[in-house]
C-alpha cells in the first residue's frame, strides 16, 4: 500500500499556498494520497495543519495552487459542493447538532447521500433506506442505546464518536479527521483507533493527530508539516528514522515512538 500508485490519487494538492496578508501559512504544498491509503499529518502547533484541512474542505479558498479530488479540481468550491463530490471532514472542536438526537444527527448526514437533499414532500420516518443506514451506523458507533438522546447530553467520548459518524455517514470516499482522539483517556483512545479503522475501511483517510501511538498504529504513510512546508512524507519506519523530523520535534518523537 505504501508504494505510490500509478492510478489517479484520491486526493492531491499542487503548489497549494495560503497567505494572510504578509504572513504565509502554507507554502507550495504538494501532497498526494492514493485511493484507500491512510495518511497521518503531523507537525508542531502552527505548522499549518488546520489551514490545510480548511483549504481542502472548502472552508477557505487557497491563494495559490490547486486541490484535486480524484483528479478533478475542487479548490474554490463551497464546502457542500466538495462534500457532494465525495470528501468529508470532521472537526477538532466537536461540531454536532446539539439539540437533535443522535439518531437525527446521523440521519441528517445520511439522507442527502441517498437523494433526499431538500425533500419536503416525504416523511422522514417512511424513508426506509435512510433509517436502515442510520441504524447500522449507530450500531457501529456503539450509540444504539443513545438513539433518542440529544447530542448535547452525550459524554465527550460519545460526542467524538458521533462526530466521526456524522462525518462518514454521507458515504464520502475521502475522509479528513481533525485530531479525532484529542482529549480522550488512554483506554478510550485504544477503543477509538479500532472504531476509526472500522469506519474508514475501504476509504481514503487523511488525519491530523498528535497522539503518536495512534499515528503509528493507523497510518500507512506519515506526512510531516513544519512551518507551512512539507518536510517529508514516507512510511512510519522511515519517518521515525528521519533526522530532520527528530530535529523538528526536538526529540519529542523519540520517547513516543512505540512500535505497534
Amino acid at each position: 500500500m505504501a508504494a505510490p500508485s500509478t492510478r489517479v490519487p484520491a486526493l492531491e494538492t499542487r503548489g497549494l499556498g495560503m497567505r494572510f496578508g504578509r504572513t504565509t501559512i502554507l507554502h507550495q504544498l504538494d501532497l498526494s494520497v492514493a485511493a484507500g491509503e491512510r495518511v497521518a499529518l503531523i507537525g508542531p502547533n502552527g505548522a499549518g495543519k488546520s489551514t490545510l484541512f480548511n483549504l481542502i474542505s472548502g472552508a477557505l479558498a487557497p491563494t495559490a495552487g490547486e486541490v484535486l479530488l480524484n483528479g478533478e479540481r475542487i479548490d474554490g468550491l463551497r464546502p457542500f459542493e466538495i462534500h457532494r463530490r465525495g470528501l468529508s471532514r470532521s472537526f477538532q472542536i466537536t461540531s454536532l447538532f446539539p439539540r437533535l438526537s443522535v439518531y437525527d444527527n446521523l440521519r441528517c448526514a445520511v439522507m442527502g447521500s441517498l437523494g433526499y437533499r431538500y425533500t419536503m414532500l416525504r416523511f422522514l420516518s417512511r424513508l426506509d433506506k435512510v433509517n436502515r443506514r442510520t441504524e447500522e451506523l449507530m450500531l457501529q458507533l456503539g450509540l444504539r442505546g443513545w438513539a433518542q438522546v440529544p447530542a448535547m447530553h452525550l459524554s465527550y467520548a460519545r460526542q467524538r464518536a458521533l462526530e466521526i459518524g456524522v462525518t462518514i455517514a454521507g458515504g464520502a470516499g475521502v475522509v479528513l479527521l481533525d485530531e479525532p482522539t484529542a482529549g480522550m483517556s488512554r483506554s478510550e483512545t485504544a477503543h477509538f483507533v479500532t472504531l476509526i479503522r472500522q469506519l474508514t475501511e475501504g476509504r481514503t483517510l487523511l488525519m491530523v493527530e498528535h497522539d503518536m501511538g495512534v499515528v503509528f498504529d493507523l497510518a500507512d504513510r506519515i506526512a510531516v508539516l513544519v512551518q507551512g512546508e512539507l518536510l517529508t512524507i514516507d512510511t512510519p519506519a522511515a519517518v521515525r528514522a528521519d533526522a530532520r523530523v527528530q530535529q523538528a520535534y526536538l526529540g519529542a518523537l523519540a520517547g513516543l515512538v512505540v512500535a505497534p
Binding site: 462534500h83 441528517c108 422522514l124 462525518t167
Partner: protein, 429 residues
Amino acid sequence: MRGQPGPDPEPPPASLRAWALSALCVVLAPLVLDSGLSMTLLSQMGIAIIACLSYNILLGQGGMLSFGHAVYTGLGAYLAIHALAAINQGIWWLPVSLLPLLGGLAGLVAAAVLGFLATRKSGTVFAMITLGLAELVGALALMFPTVFGGEAGVSANRVSGPAFAGFDLASDLQVYYLIAAYTLVCVAAMYAFTATPLGRLLNAVRDNAQRVAFIGYDPQRVRHLAFVVSGFFAGVAGGLAALVFEFVGPEALGAARSGSYLLFTVLGGTTFFFGPVIGAVLMVLSQVLLSELTRAWLLYLGLAFLFTVLLAPGGLAGVLVHLGRSRRGPWRQRLPVLAALALAGALAGSGAAALLEMLYHRQLDAALGLELRFLGLRLDVGDPTIWAGAAFACAAGMVLLIRLRPTVRGWSDPQAQASGIGAPPGGQR
C-alpha cells in the same frame, strides 16, 4: 441550565386520536359558543394560529429571528382584498373561499424574493435585514395609495361571486367554518413539515449551520426554502383575515403587527410545535378582551413577555409540558409548594396590578373622579392607605416568591431541561 440550548423534544407520537379530538372540538365549538363575539374571537384565533405557527417555522425551528413577518401576512391580505374587490366588480371569477390560497401565493412570492436577501445571512444580520425589508415594504405601501389604499386601506364585500361548495360566507357561522377548515389543514401541513427531511435539516441549520454545509447541504438554501414555506402559510393567514374583516389597512404590514407575532409566539413557546397555538389564542384574547378590561394592557403584555423570556424561555407550552411531566413523578409532595407559589404569585401580581391601575387612573382618567373599580373592589385613588396596602401586597408576594425560589430550583432535573425550560427561543447562528 439557563443560557444553554435545550434539546428538541422528541416528536410526540402524532396520535390520530388527538387530531380527531381537536377537529371535533373545532366543529362543535359553535354549538356552545354561539354568540357573535365568540364567533368573531374563534375566527380570529384560527387566523392567528396559522400566522404564529408559520412564524415559528422561522424562529423555533430555524433559529431565524424575523422582525418582519407581517410583510407576508399583510401582502397576502392585500392581494386577497384586491381579488375580492375585483370579484365584487365582476371583473374576476373566483370562488371567494379560495382567496386565502391566493393570499398564500402572494406570501410565497414575497418570501421567495425578499427571503432570498434575508436568508443569505443568519443571526443578527438576518434579523436586521428582515427589519429593514419590513420598513421598506411599509414605506412603499404608503407611497402607492392606489394599490395599498393609503391610510384608509382597501375594502371589499365577501358575499359575492359564485358560492363554492355551498359557501357564500353570508353568516358568521360560515366564515367560522371556512377558517376552521383552513386552520386544520394548515396546522396539519405545518406539523407534517416538521417530519420531513427539509424540516429536520432546518433544525440542524438552527443548531449548527456551518456543520450542515460540511455534510453536503447549502444552509442558505435550507433557510430560504423554510422562509418560503413560512411565507406561504403567513399569506394564507393574511388572506383569511381579509375575508373576515373585509378590509385591509397599512397596519397589516406594520412593525407593530410583526412585533405581536414575535411576542405571542415566544409567549406561547417556540420549542414545542403547539406552543404558538397557545400564543395565538392569547393574542386574540388579549387584543380583544384584555384591551377592553384595562387601558394598561400593553404594559401587562410587556411584563408577561419579560417574565417569559427571563424565567421560562420554553414559553407557556414549556411550563405546561413540565407540569405534565412532573405530575407523574413527585407531584403530590410538591402540591403545597405549588399552592404557595400560586398564592404568592397572585398576591404579588394583584398588588402590582392595583398599583399600576391606580397610577393609570390618576394620570389619564383623573377627570372621572377618584374611584377605580378593580377586581370587583372600589378603590379610592386619593386614599394613601389603599396605595400602601397595594404596595404591601405586592412586596409580601415578592418576598414569598423569593423565599420559595430555592425549593423550586431543587426541582430542576434532566426532565425539566428536556421540557425546554431554559432553552433560548432562537438557536445559535
